[in-house]
Symmetry: C2
Subunit: 338 residues, 2 copies
């Protein structure tokens, strides 16, 4: 790849009629006399000079670049999170170095080292590797996974989300609930969804069962379980909480194929709140994660690291949204009235 | 943000008992005696020294970093393309600097300049700005948009895709076709979908109408048009080609609300081929863009820029995929037989 010559700092100094050091001060925001600053800025504009951020990175020990470690952009949760993180970083004058790990623990480790090699100013990571080497040489903020007291973590309020799902199903008339979970073997913040769901079921004296799988498993046991609980077109459960919208969509498709009606026979709530990109509709009733706020808080934690005395865990509020797979509240009210 | 001291090249030279220049040669892959190389590599491993890629970028005039300019990651086409581009670049030892422009022409211009400021080795861009300043100071490959003979461009074979949609609808028994398009005001490669569709309709002597809108418009005229063409629950058209899957999904939802059955009353084909992340199913019958190959070709064009005598346009083959909104070919055959 070829490059043509661009103006250098020396050209700017010559054009402005000032010393090279003065140009450097202006570029690095070090105070100089106002008339000098003006002359340098005019020369920069006239020559179309672009600051060489790499030279700058070496000098001030800042690169204005943050590495984002993501498992994949094929899942809209990660894609939208990356979109929001990048927008947020740009607002603060930082660029995103994007690293895709494909859920591979080895790739996660390599990417963390690559981050350090590139002398990024920090890393925001969503990882699954069981033994990641987070040695504190580089500022790190994690999403949805708590590495212990030295690393700040941002997540949605998974526990409250689980409670909310159980409470909503009970409020909408369900009496026999099922929780379905498939996810990484390593327990992360997201597993508090199950704890919250259980806590609410116990508090509300509501019957519930759970069926839990790991990502390495196939989902076949889910469908065997559901098949065994369908009798004459009716499911033994009248409310299901799935740990993701994605799982909820597959369960809904399976039930439709087996003649079980959603939401008339069984109501279903997912978790994530990812509206369809084409229609803007939720694919199912869901607990919505506040992705823009999660991105904002992660960036704030990373950039303000020096000003935050102790690494914190930020747990952001979630909300329930109707998406067609639960009864509408007005419908329930009219049933209760009649 | 704080950083602890990491070992320097000097520390490596001391540990290995060699000159600083020897360490530099090993790091930059310049031949040295094998025993020297071994000693330097051992010292690098022992000290946990990480190459400072920024210093390296200055020395060899390479940053091993490529800027990706994308409108948004909220649309799965851009998200999956970014995922594939990043994977491809990593395979070649390059990192992705991600820039999100939010479809804003001003942001697109700024991002191109930022790319130059960061001295990236090249830019892969998907842009809409009418007057982008692509001055050749930095290697550039565009996706879906042709900037003239000096900039290589990668796209799917949009013309053939349009033809394919018309041919398939006719083959499946449609006789009165409609083409619906909403997209940027600036015509890009994607507008060849319409040209291909028209060409095939003329060749096959098939009636067709077109309704064309720009992104700045609302889609209301589409729905007014469709409403005016519904008589007694029947649409005046029996086949529709939409320029994106996204539009096709909205049209399908509108027709469902108005009692028009898809595919029994009207068959619909979209363009993009974005399978649903949860179920893996196509949201509609569609012309599939080969996103992994588009990414691969864009990276190859960028990295091999010096070896390609003239900038080329790469136009990659598409295919039709059934997604529930057209009749299945077996169904059509049995109708024709009976």
């Amino acid at each position: 790849m070829k490059k043509t010559d661009s103006p250098t700092m020396k050209d700017v100094a010559r054009e402005a009629g000032v010393a090279l050091g003065t140009v450097s001060k202006v570029i690095n925001n070090i105070p100089v006399g106002e008339s000098y600053r003006q002359r340098v800025e005019d020369a920069i504009e006239k020559l179309g000079y672009h600051v060489n951020s790499y030279a700058r990175g070496l000098k001030t020990n800042k690169t204005n670049c943050v590495a984002l470690l993501m498992p994949s952009l094929r899942h809209p949760f990660f894609a939208i999170l990356t979109d929001e993180l990048t927008a947020c970083l740009m607002k603060h004058g930082y660029r995103s170095l994007l690293m895709i790990t494909n859920y591979d623990p080895e790739a996660e480790k390599k990417c963390l080292i690559l981050g350090q090699q590139n002398k990024v100013d920090g890393v925001i990571a969503l990882t699954y590797s069981p033994n990641l080497d987070v040695d504190g040489t580089i500022p790190l903020v994690t999403i949805d996974r708590h590495f212990g007291s030295s690393i700040p973590c941002v997540s949605s309020d998974n526990f409250r989300g689980g409670e909310m799902a159980a409470e909503k199903l009970v409020e909408l008339g369900c009496g026999k609930l099922l929780f379905m979970r498939i996810g990484p073997r390593i327990l992360g913040e997201a597993d508090k969804r199950s704890a919250g769901f259980e806590a609410a079921c116990r508090r509300l004296h509501t019957d519930y069962e759970q069926i839990i799988l790991n990502d390495e498993d196939t989902e076949a046991p889910f469908y065997t379980f559901l098949s065994e609980h369908i009798h004459g077109g009716k499911l033994d459960f009248d409310g299901i909480f799935c740990n993701t919208d994605s799982l909820a969509c597959r369960v809904i498709a399976f039930l439709a194929e087996h003649g079980v009606r959603v939401p008339q026979d069984v109501q279903i709530i997912g978790y994530d709140g990812l509206a369809d990109y084409a229609t803007g509709r939720y694919p199912c009733s869901t607990i919505v994660q506040p992705i823009p706020r999660m991105a904002e808080e992660a960036v704030k934690l990373l950039l303000d690291a020096d000003n935050i005395p102790n690494p914190v865990n930020i747990c952001l509020p979630v909300r329930y949204a109707w998406g067609g797979t639960t009864l509408e509240e007005s419908a329930v009210q009219s049933i209760q009235k009649s």
